[in-house]
Symmetry: C2
Amino acid sequence: MRAIAQDEFGGVEVLKETELERPKPGIGQVLLRVRAAGVNPTDWKNRSRRTTVTTPLPLVLGWDVSGVVEETGFGVALHAVGDEVFGMLPYPNGVGAFAEYVLAPARALVPKPDGIDHVQAGALPLAALTAWQALVDTAGLRTGQRALIHAAAGGVGHLAVQIAKARGAYVIGTASAPKHEFVRGLGADEVIDYRSVDFAEAVRDVDVAFDTVGEDIGARSLPTLREGGILVTILAQTAPALQPEADRLGVRAVPMIVEHDQQGMREIAALAEAGTLRAEIAGTFPLADVAKAHEAGETGRTTGKLVLTL
Amino acid sequence: MRAIAQDEFGGVEVLKETELERPKPGIGQVLLRVRAAGVNPTDWKNRSRRTTVTTPLPLVLGWDVSGVVEETGFGVALHAVGDEVFGMLPYPNGVGAFAEYVLAPARALVPKPDGIDHVQAGALPLAALTAWQALVDTAGLRTGQRALIHAAAGGVGHLAVQIAKARGAYVIGTASAPKHEFVRGLGADEVIDYRSVDFAEAVRDVDVAFDTVGEDIGARSLPTLREGGILVTILAQTAPALQPEADRLGVRAVPMIVEHDQQGMREIAALAEAGTLRAEIAGTFPLADVAKAHEAGETGRTTGKLVLTL
Protein backbone atom coordinates (compact mmCIF):
# COMPACT_ATOMS: atom_id res chain seq x y z
CA MET A 1 0.00 0.00 0.00
CA ARG A 2 1.02 3.61 -0.45
CA ALA A 3 2.01 5.37 2.80
CA ILE A 4 3.82 8.49 3.92
CA ALA A 5 6.66 7.30 6.11
CA GLN A 6 9.73 8.88 7.69
CA ASP A 7 12.91 7.16 8.80
CA GLU A 8 14.32 10.21 10.52
CA PHE A 9 12.98 13.28 12.32
CA GLY A 10 13.17 16.69 10.65
CA GLY A 11 11.52 19.12 8.22
CA VAL A 12 8.81 18.21 5.71
CA GLU A 13 11.52 16.71 3.47
CA VAL A 14 11.66 13.62 5.74
CA LEU A 15 8.10 12.68 4.66
CA LYS A 16 8.49 10.12 1.85
CA GLU A 17 5.87 8.35 -0.21
CA THR A 18 6.69 4.68 0.31
CA GLU A 19 5.29 1.26 -0.53
CA LEU A 20 4.55 -0.65 2.69
CA GLU A 21 3.02 -4.05 3.27
CA ARG A 22 -0.70 -3.84 3.95
CA PRO A 23 -1.18 -4.85 7.61
CA LYS A 24 -3.39 -7.73 8.73
CA PRO A 25 -5.94 -7.05 11.47
CA GLY A 26 -5.23 -8.88 14.73
CA ILE A 27 -7.61 -9.71 17.57
CA GLY A 28 -10.23 -6.99 17.96
CA GLN A 29 -8.71 -4.91 15.16
CA VAL A 30 -10.24 -3.40 12.07
CA LEU A 31 -8.38 -2.73 8.81
CA LEU A 32 -9.64 0.51 7.28
CA ARG A 33 -9.36 1.74 3.72
CA VAL A 34 -8.51 5.37 4.52
CA ARG A 35 -10.64 7.96 2.72
CA ALA A 36 -9.65 11.06 4.70
CA ALA A 37 -7.10 11.76 7.44
CA GLY A 38 -6.93 15.02 9.39
CA VAL A 39 -3.57 16.68 10.04
CA ASN A 40 -2.98 17.96 13.57
CA PRO A 41 -0.20 19.90 15.33
CA THR A 42 0.87 16.63 16.94
CA ASP A 43 1.72 15.37 13.43
CA TRP A 44 4.25 18.09 12.66
CA LYS A 45 5.63 17.99 16.21
CA ASN A 46 6.18 14.23 15.96
CA ARG A 47 7.63 14.66 12.46
CA SER A 48 10.25 17.16 13.72
CA ARG A 49 11.54 15.31 16.77
CA ARG A 50 10.76 12.38 19.04
CA THR A 51 7.80 13.82 20.94
CA THR A 52 5.01 11.45 22.02
CA VAL A 53 5.55 8.49 19.68
CA THR A 54 7.51 5.72 21.35
CA THR A 55 7.61 3.13 18.55
CA PRO A 56 10.80 2.76 16.51
CA LEU A 57 11.28 4.37 13.07
CA PRO A 58 10.15 4.26 10.31
CA LEU A 59 7.07 6.14 11.38
CA VAL A 60 3.73 6.72 9.64
CA LEU A 61 1.93 9.71 11.18
CA GLY A 62 -1.81 10.46 11.27
CA TRP A 63 -4.23 9.94 14.18
CA ASP A 64 -7.46 11.11 12.54
CA VAL A 65 -9.18 8.75 10.15
CA SER A 66 -12.40 8.36 8.24
CA GLY A 67 -12.73 5.38 5.96
CA VAL A 68 -14.33 2.10 5.01
CA VAL A 69 -13.90 -1.22 6.82
CA GLU A 70 -11.84 -3.44 4.51
CA GLU A 71 -11.31 -6.41 6.83
CA THR A 72 -12.02 -7.31 10.44
CA GLY A 73 -9.83 -9.27 12.83
CA PHE A 74 -10.79 -12.18 15.09
CA GLY A 75 -13.84 -11.39 17.20
CA VAL A 76 -14.76 -7.94 15.86
CA ALA A 77 -18.55 -7.66 16.06
CA LEU A 78 -18.93 -3.89 16.25
CA HIS A 79 -18.16 -3.17 12.59
CA ALA A 80 -18.58 -5.10 9.34
CA VAL A 81 -16.77 -5.02 6.00
CA GLY A 82 -18.04 -2.07 4.00
CA ASP A 83 -19.09 0.05 7.01
CA GLU A 84 -18.11 3.71 6.89
CA VAL A 85 -16.50 4.64 10.20
CA PHE A 86 -14.33 7.35 11.74
CA GLY A 87 -12.28 7.83 14.86
CA MET A 88 -9.01 8.68 16.53
CA LEU A 89 -6.23 6.09 16.50
CA PRO A 90 -4.46 5.14 19.74
CA TYR A 91 -2.00 7.78 20.78
CA PRO A 92 0.94 7.38 20.66
CA ASN A 93 1.17 4.81 17.93
CA GLY A 94 3.76 4.17 15.28
CA VAL A 95 1.59 3.30 12.26
CA GLY A 96 -0.89 5.98 11.39
CA ALA A 97 -3.55 7.09 8.96
CA PHE A 98 -1.38 8.77 6.32
CA ALA A 99 -1.58 5.62 4.23
CA GLU A 100 -4.02 3.71 2.05
CA TYR A 101 -4.86 1.35 4.91
CA VAL A 102 -4.58 1.56 8.68
CA LEU A 103 -5.34 -0.73 11.64
CA ALA A 104 -7.53 0.45 14.49
CA PRO A 105 -8.99 -1.19 17.60
CA ALA A 106 -12.72 -1.69 16.99
CA ARG A 107 -13.70 0.63 19.83
CA ALA A 108 -11.64 3.53 18.49
CA LEU A 109 -14.17 3.76 15.64
CA VAL A 110 -17.85 4.67 15.41
CA PRO A 111 -20.21 4.75 12.41
CA LYS A 112 -19.84 7.83 10.22
CA PRO A 113 -23.19 9.62 10.10
CA ASP A 114 -24.60 9.63 6.56
CA GLY A 115 -25.01 13.39 6.68
CA ILE A 116 -21.29 14.15 6.91
CA ASP A 117 -18.68 13.34 4.28
CA HIS A 118 -15.30 11.68 4.80
CA VAL A 119 -13.42 15.00 4.78
CA GLN A 120 -15.58 16.34 7.60
CA ALA A 121 -15.39 13.02 9.47
CA GLY A 122 -11.62 12.87 9.00
CA ALA A 123 -11.23 16.40 10.37
CA LEU A 124 -13.14 15.90 13.61
CA PRO A 125 -11.83 13.04 15.79
CA LEU A 126 -8.64 14.15 17.55
CA ALA A 127 -9.55 17.84 17.83
CA ALA A 128 -13.18 17.26 18.82
CA LEU A 129 -12.22 14.52 21.32
CA THR A 130 -9.65 16.87 22.85
CA ALA A 131 -12.36 19.50 23.33
CA TRP A 132 -14.92 16.95 24.55
CA GLN A 133 -12.59 15.24 27.02
CA ALA A 134 -11.40 18.62 28.37
CA LEU A 135 -14.78 20.33 28.71
CA VAL A 136 -17.06 17.39 29.50
CA ASP A 137 -15.02 14.46 30.90
CA THR A 138 -12.52 16.57 32.84
CA ALA A 139 -14.33 19.80 33.72
CA GLY A 140 -17.93 18.52 33.73
CA LEU A 141 -19.14 21.68 31.93
CA ARG A 142 -22.91 22.11 32.26
CA THR A 143 -25.80 24.39 31.45
CA GLY A 144 -25.47 27.96 32.67
CA GLN A 145 -21.74 27.76 33.43
CA ARG A 146 -19.29 30.27 31.98
CA ALA A 147 -16.55 28.86 29.74
CA LEU A 148 -13.43 30.71 28.60
CA ILE A 149 -12.08 29.15 25.38
CA HIS A 150 -8.64 30.34 24.33
CA ALA A 151 -7.71 30.37 20.63
CA ALA A 152 -11.40 30.01 19.86
CA ALA A 153 -10.73 30.06 16.11
CA GLY A 154 -8.11 27.30 16.38
CA GLY A 155 -8.35 23.66 15.34
CA VAL A 156 -9.44 22.50 18.81
CA GLY A 157 -10.83 25.88 19.95
CA HIS A 158 -13.48 26.26 17.26
CA LEU A 159 -14.86 22.80 18.11
CA ALA A 160 -14.65 23.58 21.84
CA VAL A 161 -16.85 26.65 21.32
CA GLN A 162 -19.50 24.56 19.60
CA ILE A 163 -19.34 21.78 22.22
CA ALA A 164 -19.56 24.30 25.08
CA LYS A 165 -22.62 25.89 23.45
CA ALA A 166 -24.18 22.47 22.94
CA ARG A 167 -23.72 21.88 26.70
CA GLY A 168 -25.66 25.09 27.39
CA ALA A 169 -22.70 27.15 28.60
CA TYR A 170 -22.11 30.89 28.21
CA VAL A 171 -19.01 31.02 26.01
CA ILE A 172 -16.27 33.65 26.01
CA GLY A 173 -13.71 33.10 23.27
CA THR A 174 -10.37 34.76 22.63
CA ALA A 175 -9.21 35.37 19.06
CA SER A 176 -7.48 38.00 16.94
CA ALA A 177 -9.86 40.65 15.57
CA PRO A 178 -10.08 39.31 11.99
CA LYS A 179 -11.44 36.02 13.35
CA HIS A 180 -14.15 37.49 15.58
CA GLU A 181 -16.93 37.10 13.04
CA PHE A 182 -15.99 33.44 12.56
CA VAL A 183 -16.00 32.80 16.31
CA ARG A 184 -19.33 34.57 16.78
CA GLY A 185 -20.73 32.46 13.95
CA LEU A 186 -19.78 29.35 15.99
CA GLY A 187 -22.05 30.59 18.77
CA ALA A 188 -19.66 32.37 21.15
CA ASP A 189 -21.46 34.88 23.37
CA GLU A 190 -18.42 37.16 23.73
CA VAL A 191 -15.20 37.35 21.76
CA ILE A 192 -12.13 39.06 23.20
CA ASP A 193 -9.30 40.40 21.06
CA TYR A 194 -6.37 39.14 23.09
CA ARG A 195 -4.07 41.65 21.40
CA SER A 196 -5.91 44.75 22.59
CA VAL A 197 -7.58 43.48 25.77
CA ASP A 198 -5.95 41.79 28.77
CA PHE A 199 -8.37 38.91 29.32
CA ALA A 200 -6.80 38.29 32.75
CA GLU A 201 -8.22 41.64 33.80
CA ALA A 202 -11.40 41.72 31.72
CA VAL A 203 -12.89 38.29 32.42
CA ARG A 204 -14.22 37.03 35.77
CA ASP A 205 -16.44 34.30 37.27
CA VAL A 206 -15.36 31.63 34.80
CA ASP A 207 -16.29 28.05 35.71
CA VAL A 208 -14.16 26.35 33.06
CA ALA A 209 -11.15 27.77 31.21
CA PHE A 210 -9.58 25.77 28.38
CA ASP A 211 -6.00 26.44 27.27
CA THR A 212 -4.72 24.97 24.01
CA VAL A 213 -2.08 27.68 23.58
CA GLY A 214 0.49 27.41 26.37
CA GLU A 215 3.03 30.13 27.20
CA ASP A 216 1.52 32.33 29.94
CA ILE A 217 -2.13 31.70 29.01
CA GLY A 218 -2.65 29.15 31.76
CA ALA A 219 -1.20 31.35 34.51
CA ARG A 220 -3.18 34.38 33.32
CA SER A 221 -6.38 32.32 33.21
CA LEU A 222 -6.29 31.46 36.91
CA PRO A 223 -7.59 34.87 38.16
CA THR A 224 -10.52 34.66 35.71
CA LEU A 225 -11.85 31.58 37.53
CA ARG A 226 -14.46 31.68 40.24
CA GLU A 227 -13.57 29.79 43.43
CA GLY A 228 -13.84 26.07 42.63
CA GLY A 229 -13.36 26.76 38.92
CA ILE A 230 -11.09 24.64 36.73
CA LEU A 231 -8.47 25.34 34.11
CA VAL A 232 -7.86 22.45 31.72
CA THR A 233 -4.67 22.68 29.68
CA ILE A 234 -3.46 20.37 26.94
CA LEU A 235 0.03 21.80 27.52
CA ALA A 236 0.47 19.35 30.31
CA GLN A 237 3.97 20.55 31.14
CA THR A 238 2.66 23.91 32.34
CA ALA A 239 0.15 22.69 34.92
CA PRO A 240 2.47 21.71 37.82
CA ALA A 241 3.98 25.24 37.88
CA LEU A 242 0.47 26.68 38.22
CA GLN A 243 -0.44 24.60 41.25
CA PRO A 244 0.72 26.93 44.09
CA GLU A 245 -1.20 29.89 42.63
CA ALA A 246 -4.23 27.68 41.86
CA ASP A 247 -4.21 26.45 45.47
CA ARG A 248 -4.00 30.04 46.76
CA LEU A 249 -7.03 31.02 44.63
CA GLY A 250 -9.05 27.90 45.46
CA VAL A 251 -9.18 26.72 41.84
CA ARG A 252 -7.85 23.71 39.93
CA ALA A 253 -5.30 23.50 37.10
CA VAL A 254 -5.51 20.16 35.33
CA PRO A 255 -3.32 18.87 32.49
CA MET A 256 -4.98 16.57 29.99
CA ILE A 257 -3.93 14.61 26.94
CA VAL A 258 -6.46 13.27 24.46
CA GLU A 259 -7.09 9.52 24.31
CA HIS A 260 -8.97 7.48 21.70
CA ASP A 261 -12.45 7.04 23.09
CA GLN A 262 -15.55 5.25 21.82
CA GLN A 263 -17.89 7.07 24.17
CA GLY A 264 -16.58 10.52 23.20
CA MET A 265 -16.72 9.60 19.50
CA ARG A 266 -20.37 8.58 19.82
CA GLU A 267 -21.19 11.96 21.34
CA ILE A 268 -19.24 13.72 18.61
CA ALA A 269 -20.95 11.70 15.86
CA ALA A 270 -24.36 12.57 17.33
CA LEU A 271 -23.53 16.29 17.49
CA ALA A 272 -22.17 16.21 13.93
CA GLU A 273 -25.25 14.38 12.66
CA ALA A 274 -27.50 16.95 14.36
CA GLY A 275 -25.54 19.77 12.66
CA THR A 276 -24.50 21.12 16.07
CA LEU A 277 -20.79 20.42 15.54
CA ARG A 278 -18.96 21.10 12.32
CA ALA A 279 -15.23 21.29 11.61
CA GLU A 280 -14.16 24.28 9.53
CA ILE A 281 -12.10 22.87 6.66
CA ALA A 282 -9.08 25.07 5.89
CA GLY A 283 -8.00 22.90 2.99
CA THR A 284 -7.77 19.40 1.58
CA PHE A 285 -4.72 17.83 -0.04
CA PRO A 286 -4.14 14.53 -1.82
CA LEU A 287 -1.97 12.14 0.24
CA ALA A 288 1.05 12.83 -1.97
CA ASP A 289 0.91 16.52 -0.98
CA VAL A 290 1.26 15.78 2.73
CA ALA A 291 4.27 18.14 2.92
CA LYS A 292 2.10 21.06 1.79
CA ALA A 293 -0.46 20.25 4.46
CA HIS A 294 2.27 20.21 7.15
CA GLU A 295 3.64 23.52 5.86
CA ALA A 296 0.21 25.14 5.82
CA GLY A 297 -0.45 23.96 9.35
CA GLU A 298 2.91 25.07 10.70
CA THR A 299 2.34 28.67 9.59
CA GLY A 300 -0.36 28.85 12.27
CA ARG A 301 -2.33 31.10 9.92
CA THR A 302 -4.96 28.65 8.70
CA THR A 303 -8.46 28.79 10.17
CA GLY A 304 -9.82 25.30 10.65
CA LYS A 305 -8.55 21.85 9.85
CA LEU A 306 -6.31 20.47 7.11
CA VAL A 307 -7.30 17.11 5.70
CA LEU A 308 -5.56 14.59 3.46
CA THR A 309 -7.79 12.72 1.01
CA LEU A 310 -7.28 9.32 -0.62
CA MET B 1 7.28 -5.36 42.96
CA ARG B 2 5.95 -8.87 43.46
CA ALA B 3 4.43 -10.41 40.34
CA ILE B 4 3.40 -13.82 39.05
CA ALA B 5 5.34 -14.31 35.84
CA GLN B 6 5.98 -17.21 33.47
CA ASP B 7 8.87 -17.62 31.07
CA GLU B 8 7.40 -20.65 29.35
CA PHE B 9 3.93 -22.02 28.58
CA GLY B 10 2.59 -25.02 30.48
CA GLY B 11 0.83 -26.23 33.62
CA VAL B 12 0.38 -24.22 36.81
CA GLU B 13 4.01 -24.97 37.70
CA VAL B 14 5.17 -22.34 35.17
CA LEU B 15 3.62 -19.60 37.33
CA LYS B 16 6.47 -18.18 39.46
CA GLU B 17 6.44 -15.49 42.08
CA THR B 18 9.06 -13.03 40.85
CA GLU B 19 10.45 -9.62 41.70
CA LEU B 20 9.92 -7.24 38.75
CA GLU B 21 10.69 -3.58 38.35
CA ARG B 22 7.69 -1.40 39.10
CA PRO B 23 6.63 0.17 35.77
CA LYS B 24 6.41 3.93 35.19
CA PRO B 25 3.20 5.30 33.66
CA GLY B 26 3.63 6.73 30.17
CA ILE B 27 1.41 9.20 28.32
CA GLY B 28 -2.23 8.71 29.25
CA GLN B 29 -1.40 5.78 31.54
CA VAL B 30 -2.27 5.11 35.15
CA LEU B 31 -0.17 3.02 37.56
CA LEU B 32 -2.46 1.05 39.84
CA ARG B 33 -1.72 -0.56 43.18
CA VAL B 34 -3.62 -3.81 42.60
CA ARG B 35 -6.04 -4.79 45.37
CA ALA B 36 -7.95 -7.56 43.56
CA ALA B 37 -7.57 -9.29 40.20
CA GLY B 38 -10.13 -11.67 38.74
CA VAL B 39 -9.02 -14.94 37.15
CA ASN B 40 -10.65 -15.84 33.84
CA PRO B 41 -10.50 -18.82 31.45
CA THR B 42 -8.35 -16.69 29.16
CA ASP B 43 -5.72 -16.68 31.92
CA TRP B 44 -5.31 -20.44 32.04
CA LYS B 45 -5.56 -20.73 28.26
CA ASN B 46 -2.80 -18.16 27.82
CA ARG B 47 -0.77 -19.85 30.56
CA SER B 48 -0.89 -23.20 28.77
CA ARG B 49 0.04 -22.15 25.25
CA ARG B 50 0.45 -19.08 23.07
CA THR B 51 -3.20 -18.15 22.58
CA THR B 52 -4.13 -14.47 22.32
CA VAL B 53 -1.11 -12.78 23.90
CA THR B 54 1.36 -11.57 21.27
CA THR B 55 4.02 -9.98 23.50
CA PRO B 56 7.24 -11.90 24.18
CA LEU B 57 7.85 -13.89 27.36
CA PRO B 58 8.13 -13.48 30.32
CA LEU B 59 4.42 -12.95 30.68
CA VAL B 60 2.34 -11.62 33.59
CA LEU B 61 -1.30 -12.66 33.21
CA GLY B 62 -4.42 -10.97 34.58
CA TRP B 63 -6.89 -8.72 32.73
CA ASP B 64 -9.30 -7.89 35.56
CA VAL B 65 -8.19 -5.32 38.08
CA SER B 66 -9.52 -3.31 40.97
CA GLY B 67 -7.12 -1.07 42.81
CA VAL B 68 -5.93 2.36 43.85
CA VAL B 69 -4.27 4.94 41.61
CA GLU B 70 -0.63 5.12 42.69
CA GLU B 71 0.71 7.44 40.00
CA THR B 72 -0.58 9.06 36.80
CA GLY B 73 1.31 9.59 33.54
CA PHE B 74 1.55 12.73 31.45
CA GLY B 75 -1.84 14.26 30.70
CA VAL B 76 -4.10 11.94 32.71
CA ALA B 77 -7.03 14.04 33.94
CA LEU B 78 -9.63 11.34 34.40
CA HIS B 79 -8.20 9.80 37.57
CA ALA B 80 -6.13 11.15 40.48
CA VAL B 81 -3.68 9.55 42.92
CA GLY B 82 -5.65 7.75 45.61
CA ASP B 83 -8.76 7.12 43.48
CA GLU B 84 -10.25 3.63 43.72
CA VAL B 85 -10.89 2.35 40.19
CA PHE B 86 -11.55 -0.87 38.32
CA GLY B 87 -11.53 -2.09 34.75
CA MET B 88 -10.34 -4.51 32.14
CA LEU B 89 -6.80 -4.19 30.82
CA PRO B 90 -6.16 -4.07 27.06
CA TYR B 91 -6.40 -7.50 25.53
CA PRO B 92 -4.07 -9.00 24.53
CA ASN B 93 -1.35 -7.48 26.64
CA GLY B 94 1.85 -8.89 28.06
CA VAL B 95 1.94 -7.30 31.53
CA GLY B 96 -1.12 -8.00 33.56
CA ALA B 97 -2.76 -7.58 36.91
CA PHE B 98 -1.30 -10.56 38.77
CA ALA B 99 1.24 -8.25 40.36
CA GLU B 100 1.46 -5.57 43.02
CA TYR B 101 1.25 -2.82 40.40
CA VAL B 102 -0.05 -2.66 36.84
CA LEU B 103 -0.27 -0.01 34.10
CA ALA B 104 -3.58 0.78 32.42
CA PRO B 105 -4.74 3.35 29.88
CA ALA B 106 -6.84 5.94 31.74
CA ARG B 107 -9.98 5.06 29.75
CA ALA B 108 -9.79 1.37 30.62
CA LEU B 109 -10.70 2.35 34.20
CA VAL B 110 -13.75 3.84 35.88
CA PRO B 111 -14.38 4.80 39.51
CA LYS B 112 -15.19 1.88 41.79
CA PRO B 113 -18.61 2.49 43.37
CA ASP B 114 -18.32 2.88 47.15
CA GLY B 115 -20.94 0.21 47.66
CA ILE B 116 -18.86 -2.63 46.19
CA ASP B 117 -15.57 -3.91 47.54
CA HIS B 118 -12.34 -4.60 45.62
CA VAL B 119 -13.03 -8.35 45.38
CA GLN B 120 -16.39 -7.71 43.72
CA ALA B 121 -14.93 -4.98 41.51
CA GLY B 122 -12.00 -7.20 40.55
CA ALA B 123 -14.36 -10.04 39.60
CA LEU B 124 -16.59 -8.06 37.25
CA PRO B 125 -14.71 -6.32 34.40
CA LEU B 126 -13.78 -8.91 31.76
CA ALA B 127 -16.77 -11.20 32.29
CA ALA B 128 -19.34 -8.41 32.63
CA LEU B 129 -17.90 -6.52 29.62
CA THR B 130 -18.08 -9.71 27.58
CA ALA B 131 -21.76 -10.07 28.45
CA TRP B 132 -22.46 -6.35 27.95
CA GLN B 133 -20.68 -6.13 24.60
CA ALA B 134 -22.38 -9.30 23.35
CA LEU B 135 -25.93 -8.54 24.48
CA VAL B 136 -26.04 -4.76 24.21
CA ASP B 137 -23.33 -3.52 21.82
CA THR B 138 -23.54 -6.43 19.39
CA ALA B 139 -27.11 -7.74 19.64
CA GLY B 140 -28.87 -4.56 20.78
CA LEU B 141 -30.99 -6.52 23.27
CA ARG B 142 -34.03 -4.52 24.38
CA THR B 143 -37.16 -4.67 26.50
CA GLY B 144 -39.53 -7.51 25.69
CA GLN B 145 -37.07 -9.52 23.61
CA ARG B 146 -36.34 -13.15 24.36
CA ALA B 147 -32.74 -14.01 25.27
CA LEU B 148 -31.23 -17.51 25.41
CA ILE B 149 -28.17 -17.53 27.70
CA HIS B 150 -26.10 -20.70 27.57
CA ALA B 151 -24.09 -21.76 30.63
CA ALA B 152 -26.20 -19.35 32.64
CA ALA B 153 -24.40 -20.29 35.86
CA GLY B 154 -20.97 -19.67 34.32
CA GLY B 155 -18.56 -16.80 34.88
CA VAL B 156 -19.87 -14.80 31.94
CA GLY B 157 -23.31 -16.43 31.82
CA HIS B 158 -24.44 -15.49 35.33
CA LEU B 159 -23.63 -11.85 34.61
CA ALA B 160 -25.31 -12.07 31.19
CA VAL B 161 -28.55 -13.22 32.84
CA GLN B 162 -28.51 -10.19 35.14
CA ILE B 163 -27.67 -7.77 32.32
CA ALA B 164 -30.38 -9.22 30.08
CA LYS B 165 -32.93 -8.84 32.89
CA ALA B 166 -31.75 -5.27 33.50
CA ARG B 167 -32.45 -4.60 29.80
CA GLY B 168 -35.99 -5.83 30.26
CA ALA B 169 -35.60 -9.09 28.34
CA TYR B 170 -37.33 -12.44 28.95
CA VAL B 171 -34.41 -14.71 29.87
CA ILE B 172 -34.08 -18.43 29.20
CA GLY B 173 -30.94 -19.92 30.72
CA THR B 174 -29.35 -23.32 30.31
CA ALA B 175 -27.63 -24.98 33.27
CA SER B 176 -27.24 -28.37 34.91
CA ALA B 177 -30.03 -29.17 37.38
CA PRO B 178 -28.06 -28.46 40.61
CA LYS B 179 -27.51 -24.88 39.43
CA HIS B 180 -31.13 -24.08 38.54
CA GLU B 181 -31.92 -22.43 41.84
CA PHE B 182 -28.86 -20.21 41.48
CA VAL B 183 -29.85 -19.20 37.93
CA ARG B 184 -33.47 -18.50 38.93
CA GLY B 185 -32.13 -16.38 41.78
CA LEU B 186 -30.31 -14.25 39.19
CA GLY B 187 -33.67 -13.46 37.60
CA ALA B 188 -33.94 -16.01 34.77
CA ASP B 189 -37.54 -16.59 33.69
CA GLU B 190 -36.91 -20.17 32.52
CA VAL B 191 -34.03 -22.53 33.20
CA ILE B 192 -33.40 -25.55 30.99
CA ASP B 193 -31.47 -28.60 32.10
CA TYR B 194 -29.34 -29.09 29.00
CA ARG B 195 -28.64 -32.70 30.05
CA SER B 196 -32.26 -33.85 30.00
CA VAL B 197 -33.82 -31.42 27.52
CA ASP B 198 -32.74 -30.69 23.94
CA PHE B 199 -32.90 -26.91 23.95
CA ALA B 200 -32.66 -26.91 20.14
CA GLU B 201 -36.10 -28.54 20.10
CA ALA B 202 -37.62 -26.95 23.19
CA VAL B 203 -36.85 -23.26 22.64
CA ARG B 204 -38.26 -21.03 19.88
CA ASP B 205 -38.69 -17.35 18.96
CA VAL B 206 -35.41 -16.23 20.52
CA ASP B 207 -34.22 -12.74 19.56
CA VAL B 208 -30.72 -13.06 21.02
CA ALA B 209 -28.77 -16.24 21.80
CA PHE B 210 -25.44 -16.02 23.60
CA ASP B 211 -22.92 -18.85 23.40
CA THR B 212 -19.92 -18.90 25.75
CA VAL B 213 -19.54 -22.69 25.52
CA GLY B 214 -18.57 -23.65 21.96
CA GLU B 215 -18.73 -27.22 20.64
CA ASP B 216 -22.15 -27.66 18.94
CA ILE B 217 -24.00 -25.08 21.05
CA GLY B 218 -23.81 -22.41 18.37
CA ALA B 219 -25.13 -24.65 15.60
CA ARG B 220 -27.94 -25.98 17.78
CA SER B 221 -28.91 -22.44 18.80
CA LEU B 222 -29.66 -21.32 15.24
CA PRO B 223 -33.10 -23.04 14.99
CA THR B 224 -34.15 -21.43 18.29
CA LEU B 225 -33.88 -17.96 16.71
CA ARG B 226 -36.79 -16.11 15.18
CA GLU B 227 -36.16 -14.73 11.68
CA GLY B 228 -33.81 -11.77 12.02
CA GLY B 229 -32.52 -13.05 15.36
CA ILE B 230 -28.85 -13.09 16.30
CA LEU B 231 -26.47 -15.59 17.85
CA VAL B 232 -23.41 -14.02 19.47
CA THR B 233 -20.57 -16.39 20.22
CA ILE B 234 -17.32 -15.67 22.00
CA LEU B 235 -15.93 -18.84 20.39
CA ALA B 236 -15.11 -16.80 17.33
CA GLN B 237 -13.67 -19.75 15.45
CA THR B 238 -17.05 -21.44 15.24
CA ALA B 239 -19.05 -18.62 13.62
CA PRO B 240 -17.88 -18.89 9.99
CA ALA B 241 -18.96 -22.54 9.82
CA LEU B 242 -22.45 -21.51 10.97
CA GLN B 243 -22.92 -18.93 8.24
CA PRO B 244 -24.55 -21.08 5.51
CA GLU B 245 -27.19 -22.42 7.91
CA ALA B 246 -27.71 -18.96 9.44
CA ASP B 247 -28.25 -17.51 5.95
CA ARG B 248 -30.75 -20.27 5.14
CA LEU B 249 -32.72 -19.51 8.32
CA GLY B 250 -32.55 -15.73 7.90
CA VAL B 251 -30.62 -15.21 11.14
CA ARG B 252 -27.16 -13.93 12.03
CA ALA B 253 -24.21 -15.68 13.70
CA VAL B 254 -21.67 -13.15 14.99
CA PRO B 255 -18.33 -13.87 16.65
CA MET B 256 -17.19 -11.39 19.27
CA ILE B 257 -14.14 -10.88 21.45
CA VAL B 258 -14.21 -8.63 24.49
CA GLU B 259 -12.34 -5.32 24.37
CA HIS B 260 -11.48 -2.92 27.20
CA ASP B 261 -14.18 -0.27 27.13
CA GLN B 262 -14.81 2.84 29.19
CA GLN B 263 -18.43 3.14 28.13
CA GLY B 264 -19.23 -0.46 28.97
CA MET B 265 -17.44 -0.16 32.33
CA ARG B 266 -19.51 2.89 33.22
CA GLU B 267 -22.70 0.95 32.56
CA ILE B 268 -21.41 -2.00 34.59
CA ALA B 269 -20.38 0.26 37.48
CA ALA B 270 -23.83 1.86 37.48
CA LEU B 271 -25.58 -1.54 37.51
CA ALA B 272 -23.26 -2.77 40.29
CA GLU B 273 -23.87 0.35 42.35
CA ALA B 274 -27.63 -0.07 41.93
CA GLY B 275 -27.36 -3.69 43.13
CA THR B 276 -28.67 -4.93 39.78
CA LEU B 277 -25.44 -6.70 38.83
CA ARG B 278 -23.39 -8.78 41.22
CA ALA B 279 -20.63 -11.29 40.54
CA GLU B 280 -20.92 -14.54 42.44
CA ILE B 281 -17.56 -15.07 44.16
CA ALA B 282 -16.49 -18.73 44.04
CA GLY B 283 -13.36 -18.05 46.04
CA THR B 284 -10.55 -15.64 46.82
CA PHE B 285 -6.84 -16.48 47.01
CA PRO B 286 -3.78 -14.48 48.01
CA LEU B 287 -1.55 -13.64 45.04
CA ALA B 288 0.98 -16.31 46.04
CA ASP B 289 -1.73 -18.98 45.65
CA VAL B 290 -2.40 -18.13 42.01
CA ALA B 291 -1.76 -21.78 41.02
CA LYS B 292 -4.65 -22.89 43.25
CA ALA B 293 -6.94 -20.36 41.59
CA HIS B 294 -5.98 -21.63 38.12
CA GLU B 295 -6.54 -25.22 39.23
CA ALA B 296 -9.94 -24.43 40.73
CA GLY B 297 -10.98 -22.63 37.56
CA GLU B 298 -9.76 -25.35 35.24
CA THR B 299 -11.95 -27.97 36.91
CA GLY B 300 -14.95 -26.13 35.45
CA ARG B 301 -16.84 -27.02 38.64
CA THR B 302 -16.78 -23.66 40.41
CA THR B 303 -19.87 -21.45 40.36
CA GLY B 304 -18.87 -17.83 39.97
CA LYS B 305 -15.61 -15.99 39.80
CA LEU B 306 -12.18 -16.64 41.32
CA VAL B 307 -10.33 -13.59 42.56
CA LEU B 308 -6.75 -12.97 43.68
CA THR B 309 -6.29 -10.47 46.51
CA LEU B 310 -3.26 -8.33 47.40
